[in-house]
C-alpha cells in the first residue's frame, strides 16, 4: 500500500456513497492516518467496516492508491488481531467454511404472498462442494498459513 504518496486531493470521498452519509468515514482521512502510522486507531474506531466496496475510490485515485484495498487490508488485520468487528463477517465465514456457500437455498416469497423454491421453479439442485471436508480443510490450512 503506497499510502505515503497520497496528495490528500479529496477525490476519493467526493463521490463515496458512505462519506456523505456516515459521520467519520472518509477514505482520504483513512489514507492520511495510515501514512501517519495510526492504523490501530482506525482498527479500533470501526469506520473500516462501513465501506460498501463500490470501488469508486480505487477506480479514480490519481495516485493509484486504492483506499478500498487499504481498508480490506485493515479489516484483515483487525480480525486477525481480534479487534471488534461486525458479527456478520464471522457468520458468513462460518457458513462458507462449513457449507461452501454463504446462504442455503430457501423458499422465496412471491408478490402474491406464497412461497416458491428451486424445485417449484424447475431448477436443478444448488451447487455445493462434492467433498465439504476437503474444502473446509483447505480453507483452514490456508488461513493458518497466512496468520
Amino acid at each position: 500500500m503506497n499510502a505515503e504518496v497520497c496528495d490528500q486531493c479529496g477525490k476519493c470521498p467526493s463521490a463515496c456513497p458512505v462519506t456523505a452519509r456516515i459521520e467519520g468515514f472518509n477514505p482520504r482521512q483513512i489514507i492520511a492516518k495510515v501514512s501517519l502510522g495510526k492504523e490501530e486507531e482506525l482498527m479500533k474506531s470501526g469506520v473500516i467496516w462501513t465501506c460498501t466496496s463500490c470501488l469508486k475510490c480505487r477506480e479514480r485515485c490519481p495516485e493509484e492508491i486504492s483506499p478500498y484495498d487499504v481498508i480490506l487490508e485493515l479489516r484483515r488485520e483487525a480480525i486477525s488481531e481480534g479487534f471488534e468487528h461486525p458479527a456478520s463477517y464471522d457468520e458468513a465465514e462460518k457458513a462458507v467454511t462449513e457449507t461452501g456457500v454463504v446462504q442455503q437455498p430457501q423458499p422465496v416469497r412471491t408478490r402474491s404472498r406464497d412461497r416458491k423454491d428451486r424445485v417449484a421453479l424447475g431448477l436443478p439442485p444448488a451447487q455445493k462442494p462434492k467433498d465439504q471436508a476437503k474444502y473446509t480443510q483447505a480453507i483452514k490450512e490456508l488461513k493458518e498459513a497466512a496468520d
Binding site: 503506497n2 505515503e4 504518496v5 497520497c6 490528500q8 482521512q29 492516518k33 501514512s35 501517519l36
Partner: protein, 555 residues
Amino acid sequence: MAPRIGVFVCRCGINIGAYVDVPKVVEYAKTLPGVAYAEENMYTCSSDGLNKIKEAIKKHSLERVVVASCTPRTHEPLFQATCEEAGVNKYLFEMANIRDQCSWVHMKEPEKATEKAKDLVRMAVAKAALLEPGEEPEIDVNPSTLVIGGGVAGMRAALSLAEQGFTVTIVEKQKQLGGMLRTFDTLFPFNQKASEVLEPLVKQVTTNPRIRVLTESKVSSVYGFIGNFDIGVDAAGKEEKFNVGTIIVAVGAEALEPKGLYHYGEDPRIVTQAQLEEIVKVGRVDAKKIVMIQCAGARSEERPYCSRICCNEALKNALNVAAPSKEVYILYRDLQTYGIQYSKLEQETKRKGVRFLKYQAEKPPKITPETDGLNVSFYSPTVNEEMTLKADLLVLSTPLVPVTDAKELSQMLKVPLDSNGFFMEAHVKLRPIDFATDGIFVCGTAHSPKDIGESVAQALGVASRAGIPMAKKRVRTAAIMSQVDQTRCSGCGTCIDVCPYNALRKNEKGLAETIAAVCKGCGVCGATCPEKAITMHHFTDEQIQAQGLAALEED
C-alpha cells in the same frame, strides 16, 4: 498651407467596432480641417492594415497620419515605423486611443462612445496639423558591461557577455564571488554539492581575460545613458571610475531572519533551514522528531508573496535528514513543488517517509517549548483534527527578501522597485528582464525569488538583451526631448534640479542645455521653467493647446 492629414479608424475586431459607430467616425473625420483622407480597418495593426496606410500615404500624398485605435504603449512604434517606410517622418504620426479610454469604458452607452471617439479623433487631428519632423540622435555604445553582483546570476551573465566578445566588470560586495550559492551545502532537486556548481564557475570568471572582478566593492555613482554610463565604484576603499555601455543588476536577495516568529532566537532547538543545512554539513542530526514549518514570514500581511524556493529547500533538507529512526514532518500551506523536477522531488520525499501535514494560514502552529521537546499544536486539514507534535528540532522555512541596499541602488540607477522591494521589470509578461530605462537590465533573485536554473536562464537572457545594443555599436534615442531657448534662459538651474534623468546641464555661458541622449522627454523641466524657455518637442505648448481647444469644440 496646411499639411494633408490621413485618418485611419480601427475596429479592433469587435473591441471597438461593436460599441463605436466606426463608419460614422470615419465620415466625421473627413469633415475635419486638413483631413485629406479617412478610412476604417478591421485591424489597422494587421499587415493588411499597415499596407493600407502605406498605400494611402502614396495615393493621397499624406503628410501627417492619425490612427484611432488602441494604446500607443503597445502600437505607436509599429505605426511610426510604417509611416517611415512610406516616407513620412515618424514624428508626424499621432494616435487616438478610442479603445482603452473609449469603447472599453463605454460599452453600455454606444452613442456616447461614438461621440467621444469623434472628440478624440478631432483632438488628434488638431495636434497632427502642428506636428514637426524629429531627428533621432545616434549614440555610440561602449561594448562593455557593468554587472552589479557576483552571485551565480551575475557570473553567468558576465561569462556569456565575455564569450560574445564584450568586456565586463563585476562589482561584488563580499570578499568572494558566489553570493547566496556559498550559503548552501547541497542544491535541490538533485542534491548535488553546491561547490560542484560554484567552484568551476568562479574559476571560469576569474580566469576570463575579458572579465574584471572587483570584490569588497560597491557602486557609488552612475551617470549617463545607454551606451555611455560613467560608473563610480568604491573598490575596497579606493575610488574607481570607468565607462560602460550597459548595466546588469544581479544583486540577488537575502534570507529573512525570522526574529520573533515561532519563538525563534529564544530556544536553540528552533532553527532556520539554512542553519539546519549547516548542522547537516558538519555532522549528523541527533534530533529524532523534526518538524519543519513552511511560509515562516511569507505569504503574510507583511510579506504578501510566496518565496518560491522554500518548499523545495525544505524537501531537500528533509530528504537529507530522513532516516528510519527519525520522524520528519513538513507543515505546509500550499506545497510549491511546481513543474516536473519538483513534482518528482515531492514524490521522492513522500516515499522516503517524510510526513506532510497541511496547516491553515489563519491558524498557524503554536509552539510551546518544554524541557522534553517543543510542542507544535495546530489544526490539520489533513486529518481534520487538532494535532500536537512533540519536536526535538523545529525548522523554519523563511522567504528571500530584497538586499538591504536595493533602494539605494534603485535610486542611483533610476529604476523602480516593486511593492515587495524587489527590482521591477519593464513589463511583467513580455519584458521580464529589461528595465524601462534603456541599457539597464535585471536578472536572478534581485528580480524575485527563484532557483539557480531560473536565475541562470535570466542571466543568459540579460546577456542577450545587453548584447544587442553593444553588438549594433550604435543606438538611436527618441527625438521627444526638451530644448532650452538660450535667448530666454536665465540660468536659474531649476530645470537641472527637477530633471529625474540628469539630462540637463549648465553650459559655459551658465545657461541650461539638454543632453539629448539622456533626455526621456518627461516634460518636468518644461513645466517648471519660470521663463518658459524650454520647449518639449512633440509636446509643444502649441500642439497641446490645439488639442485642448479641439476638445472643447462642439461638432
